[in-house]
């Protein structure tokens, strides 16, 4: 089993929150999706990210305030899961409820083993 990082971008949580009922249903689908992963022993961890942040750059360690890029480009959250191949990981990502939004994207990246 390898580990994969799923990066979530886009979506429209702010708007969805206007209707508590719709929001709740949406979050239940996240729970269902991650719940299935958990039952299969493939879930490692996941968290949404706040849009505020800081960025430190280079040897000078210059600190700048976020947001760093345009809203829909910004990483809104991540999930780490186990899968045998990139295709399997992509299959898992396919069920992510962020894809209920047209601008929602999931980037699937294999966690690389570092060799010395």
């Amino acid at each position: 089993m390898k580990e994969y990082l799923l990066l979530f971008r886009g979506g429209d949580g702010k708007n969805l929150r206007q209707s508590p009922e719709k929001w709740q249903q949406h979050m239940q689908r996240w729970a269902a999706w991650m719940g299935e992963m958990t039952q299969q022993g493939k879930f490692v961890g996941a968290q949404p990210l706040s849009s505020d942040g800081k960025q430190i750059t280079g040897t000078k360690k210059t600190v700048t305030d976020g947001p760093f890029i345009e809203g829909k480009e910004m990483v809104g959250g991540y999930l780490i899961c186990k899968a045998s191949t990139i295709d399997e990981a992509t299959g898992i990502a396919n069920g992510c409820p962020i894809l209920e939004f047209d601008n929602g994207t999931v980037e699937v990246r294999e966690i690389q083993e570092m060799t010395m």
């Binding site: 709740q24 729970a31 958990t38 968290q47």
Partner: protein, 422 residues
Amino acid sequence: MLDTNKLTDHLFRHDSGKMVSVLTKIFGTENLETAEDVVQQTFIDAISIWKLKGIPDNPSAWLFRVAKNKAIDIIRRNKHSLQYDFSDNERKLLTSEYTLATTMETLWKEELVKDDLLRMMFACCHPEISEENQITLILKTLCGFSTAEIAKAFLTSEDTVSKRLYRTKEFFREKKIKLAIPSTEELKSRTDAVLNSIYLLFNEGYNSTNAEQLIREDLIDEAMMLCKLLTENQHTQLPEVFALMALMCFHAARSESRLTSEGEIILLPYQDRSKWNFDLIFSGSEYMNKAAFGNELSTYHIEAAIAFEHCKAESFSKTNWQKILELYELLCRISSSPVTELNKAVAVMEVHGAAEALASLENISDKKKMETFYLYHSLLGEIHSRLHHSVEAKKYFENAARLTQSDAEKKILKEKIIALLN
């Protein structure tokens, strides 16, 4: 306006057990203390907020919501702490913000809470925990008893009760007992322990005349609710479970006619039988029928049969004492206790007269222990009074009055002493 303190006391009895069970499912039995702290804190909040803002429409839902939020806070603060283990599948999603609130909501669903309570009940009755510690824990965590009330029920000190609770929690901390309904092989013995404490709880409500009416009713309700849970879960539908349920129905049916509106005891011969709750007697006999399978006769079967004889009798004088005596003899053979011996002697007195009853008390086992029971002295007083031995009768009634802590009992005994003089 409803008294906030009284209401929270009532809700604490009614809901704290459920809340502790769900919270223990969340934090693990090794963190029972955390679960109890959350419940405690929730009730403290309730008292202070309700006093200011008034009591919410659905107080139980309010309590559950606050407990839920407190649990979420604890998880957020401690998800990486070694004290808590969220690694198993049911709890893993509590560690992600994507799923924390939704998962928490699911864990508190009404239909799941019942099973949680049942599993918690079995955890409290784990075979490696001594029987008295099991009962103490059930009363504390599932029934919302205070240490003072438990101490009173066991005729022991609050200090002893605290030590028992501490030891049991220590055991949970070390063994990290999983919450589960026991396997088939263990089920019977472990259910026995659960039934034992349910009956103790019931008796505390049924017999104690110290406690307020509201508390007494809560105790009876709680005991019957716990037993009903066992009768409803297909894994725990044992004959003795139904038998105890029947027994409690027959007793509870008569509880209202046992006291005057001032809380004074009315003895069986003088009770207004039309006040008995015939719906409960009917439920009791249904449970009796359901209890009639398997090949083992539990004490609950016999006690239920005795209680049913009383319920069946149109009047005290029409009571079938012969049948009751036979049942007590059977009961004493299966499981003899001071109280059953004394009750048998009462039946002997009604069937064969006071002289025979006196003779049977002469041969009673463990007389020394018996002498510490007020009922023993009270019965001896009754026997001597029927034999017109006024001096002895007075002596025994006085002993009994000294031994009982109940004002209502003391009053009845005093009346009996006065009656001797006439």
